[in-house]
């Protein structure tokens, strides 16, 4: 079920109403049933996959807790294999076999692997990682194994964050399902305000920008440099509003019922370095990879070459988490490369800053860093958005070897300028919303919700899916 659908408009108030009407002991069941309905609105049969990983991780958690030594580790490995196995079959099979066929063909072996013809279950990477974090945390002894199967199933399936996060940790979310949650007016207003702002980002900004970006990226080969450049900047803003909008709605929806989910975005395009960007962008995934991959690999407390290796591995795995496509691999490699380069060039860049006197004007220095970081991140987005690596290189090449007029090239049959102006208007609204005093949002939540809803109705587009659903 999409958040931006009529069904959710009915579903959510009904679930919230029932949640507060029911006594505490039945609420978990209501939320679990609601989560099943929410998930089954996409492809009903895929709930069996969820059921499989939930069952494996539930028993693995208990067995990890009850056993010692190598047996304990074996259960963790079984859990990891089960989760990664599901991902491998549903997400990476076609990618792996396709590349293997190409490789075998290059050494003279013709081999065709069967096409399983399966659709990627929605939000698979999200709930798999959330489930994995549970068994890892139980193994580490940070949380006790959950004994109630229904509560554990709810931890994996909690509908606000089931299909696109934030990816929660068991320490944070599991105790909330056990605790009594009396109705709280602050939670209700805070949650509704957050949801309204999320819908604004998605429906008013992201879906508007998609109108411009989609046709340009559908045919990068025949677009001019200026059009691709504008579309790429628009995509940077679109993906931020699309995904952070989803996170806001998820966090807000959970909060209305009193549940607190982690913040997933903290104005990432105001980051002054790529490293800072990753502490502000998709925080729940970045921290997942930090805690379960980067630090176990040794983090930065190792030799320098090993540190670089750890960074590159972490970003390449993160890239593959997003999708089974070489475009994502290049995107991840670029980000890993940015971080390695920033470490290697730290001293020379500091000397340069001192030489030109930028260290005496920290505000200007930060502004320049923010701009430079935005350029780096936006260039990498070309690979994230393009459908093939060849298309991405074509688009990137056209931007870097800028040619042609500073004018659009007929993407929309003579209404390019209108669409461009409308997109700029949407971005202006987003910037304006950044400047809104918190008072308006929280001391006058009613006014904020009413105004935002009216803006959404009048200026919104009906754009459909969220980008991150495909992961």
């Amino acid at each position: 079920m999409l958040f931006n659908s009529t069904e959710f408009l009915v579903f959510f108030p009904v679930v919230v109403g029932l949640f507060f009407a029911l006594p505490h002991r039945w609420r978990w069941l209501l939320l679990l049933l609601a989560s099943c309905v929410f998930y089954m609105a996409f492809v009903p049969v895929y709930i069996l996959i969820l059921g499989f990983t939930i069952a494996v991780d539930y028993f693995a958690g208990i067995l990890i807790e009850q056993t010692q030594g190598s047996t304990r580790k074996r259960w963790l490995v079984i859990s990891i294999f089960a989760n990664v196995g599901v991902l491998a079959i549903f997400k990476y099979y076609a990618f792996l076999t396709g590349n293997l066929e190409v490789f075998l063909a290059s050494v003279g072996v013709v081999r065709h692997f069967p096409d399983l013809g399966i659709l990627l279950p929605i939000g698979l990477s999200f709930h798999t990682f959330q489930s994995l974090s549970y068994t890892i945390e139980v193994y580490r002894g940070h949380v006790p194994a959950e004994r109630r199967f229904g509560i554990f199933a709810l931890y994996v399936m909690f509908f606000p964050q089931l299909v696109a996060g934030p990816i929660e940790r068991p320490q944070s979310l599991l105790p909330q399902f056990h605790a009594r949650r009396p109705f709280n007016m602050d939670d209700l207003t805070w949650g509704l305000v957050k949801m309204a702002y999320g819908f604004f980002k998605k429906v008013v900004v992201a879906d508007r920008l998609a109108l411009f970006v989609d046709p340009v990226y559908a045919d990068l080969g025949s677009r001019n440099s200026f059009t691709i450049l504008v579309a790429t900047v628009f995509f940077a803003i679109q993906i931020y509003c699309d995904f952070s909008g989803y996170s806001d709605i998820a966090i807000g929806a959970a909060r209305v019922m009193g549940f607190r989910l982690m913040e997933n975005f903290r104005r990432p395009y105001l980051a002054a370095s790529v490293s800072e960007f990753w502490s502000r962008w998709h925080i729940s995934l970045s921290s997942w990879f930090r805690d379960y991959l980067y630090i176990p690999l040794g983090g930065n407390r190792v030799l320098k070459w090993r540190w670089y290796y750890n960074l590159m591995i972490t970003f390449l795995v993160s890239a593959l988490w997003h999708g089974a496509n070489w475009t994502y691999v290049i995107w991840g490699a670029l980000h890993g490369g940015y971080l390695v380069a920033s470490i290697m060039l730290k001293r020379p860049s500091l000397r340069l800053v001192q030489a030109i006197g930028l260290d005496r004007v920290p505000r200007i220095r930060r502004a320049l860093n923010v701009g430079f970081t935005f350029v780096l991140v936006t260039l990498a987005w070309v690979f994230f958005r393009a459908t093939t690596a060849k298309q991405a290189f074509t688009g990137l090449g056209k931007m870097l070897h800028f040619q042609g007029p500073i004018a659009f090239d007929g993407v929309f049959d003579n209404v390019d300028n209108y669409h461009f102006a409308a997109c700029m208007g949407a971005i202006a609204l987003l910037v304006l919303s950044y400047r809104l005093p918190l008072d308006l949002q929280l001391k006058r939540p009613r006014t904020f919700i009413v105004l935002t809803t009216l803006i959404i109705i009048v200026l919104g587009r009906n754009g459909g899916d969220f980008i991150y659903f495909q992961f």
Binding site: T6, F20, P182, F183, N184, M185, D186, L188, T189, W190, L192, V193, K194, G410, N414, V415, Y418, A422, L438, Q441, L442, K443, P445, R446, T447, I449, V450, L451, T453, L454, I457, V458, L459, G460, R461, N462
Partner: protein, 311 residues
């Protein structure tokens, strides 16, 4: 987002908060509906205005021209008669024409009706719902929209969700009065530059050849509609770029349908599709420029006068 200090946690307070929020949104929607409707109907060239005009008045004595963008950009009302209105709507096909013609024929009038004939008339086509939202209260319009009729089209302001763009986009040229000629529903750009026109012609040519696709049910239903009235219906064919005809496939089937229409006692077919026009009078393969529209309108008036039809 920082959290506020604790407020009352009672459900009664929450109910009051939610109720007042919903009332606030409802009042906002009621207040915004009027300016949005004005915006949708501000431009007489826009489909929303034309559909609304067709459904909200009889306009006795008026001669209606019904058709697609080819009609909207080819028939100059002031050159055709004193009381002619061009109801040609962009992005329309047979279904929209049937809706408009049915409504026009239901009016207590005796004036002729001009329908612009298209060779792609009966091909599949999805209506642009933005044209019909301000008139969605009319039962015929609701029936016409069918599955595309959304529940929120009946609520003030909410009905315009996702469609406001369509109205703004046609309103802005009107506001800045940029390069458009309009005349009782007829509208046309004064003229894009030569390069744009060449590009549009090239795009059109690249889509050739076109062909008549048989749609027996639709074809018969339309003939039945044409023959269901005593009023004179002029089935006119506005000019196509010559290459259209040299590449058009299954013309004999189109001619068969036109012959069936011609055999109806109240139908007059005026075929000016091959009317000779200079190359520069074409905007693209199916549309003419202003001089082409003027020449066609004068010729049509002459043809109709010769057949004793005064507009």
């Amino acid at each position: 987002m920082a959290e506020t200090s604790s407020t009352s946690s009672s459900k009664r307070t929450a109910f009051r908060f939610l109720l007042s929020t919903v009332v606030g949104i409802a009042v906002g929607c009621l207040l915004l509906d009027w300016p949005l409707t004005r915006l949708a109907l501000a431009n007489e060239n826009f489909g929303a205005f034309k559909v609304h005009r067709m459904f909200t008045g009889d306009h006795p004595g008026e001669v209606a021209i019904i058709g697609s963008s080819r009609a909207a950009g080819s028939y100059v009302p002031s050159l055709l008669g004193d009381s002619v209105f061009n109801y040609g709507i962009e992005e329309t096909g047979w279904r929209e024409v049937r809706l408009m013609l049915t409504k026009e024929l239901s009016k207590p009038k005796s004036t002729p009706v001009i329908v612009n004939f298209e060779y792609s008339f009966f091909d599949g086509h999805q209506p642009n719902t933005a044209h019909f939202i301000p008139t969605a209260d009319e039962p015929e319009v609701r029936q016409f929209l069918g599955k595309r009729m959304r529940w929120f089209y009946r609520f003030p302001t909410l009905r315009y969700f996702g469609s406001v763009d369509e109205y703004v986009r046609v309103f802005i040229p009107l506001l800045i009065r940029k390069g458009q000629v309009s005349d009782n529903g007829f509208f046309i750009d004064k003229g894009p530059d030569r390069a744009t026109r060449d590009k549009m012609l090239a795009i059109g040519k690249s889509k050739l050849p076109m062909r008549w696709r048989t749609h027996p049910t639709e074809e018969k239903a339309f003939l039945d509609l044409l023959g269901s009235t005593q009023r004179t219906i002029v089935l006119a064919i506005s000019p196509y770029y010559p290459e259209f005809y040299t590449n058009f496939g299954h013309m004999e089937q189109a001619e068969t349908w036109l012959a069936a229409a011609r055999s109806l006692p109240n139908v007059v077919v005026v075929d000016l599709g091959r009317m000779p026009l200079p190359e520069t009078d074409y905007l693209n393969i199916t549309h003419v420029m202003l001089p082409g529209a003027e020449a066609f309108s004068k010729e049509l008036r002459k043809e109709l006068n010769e057949r004793g039809i005064e507009l």
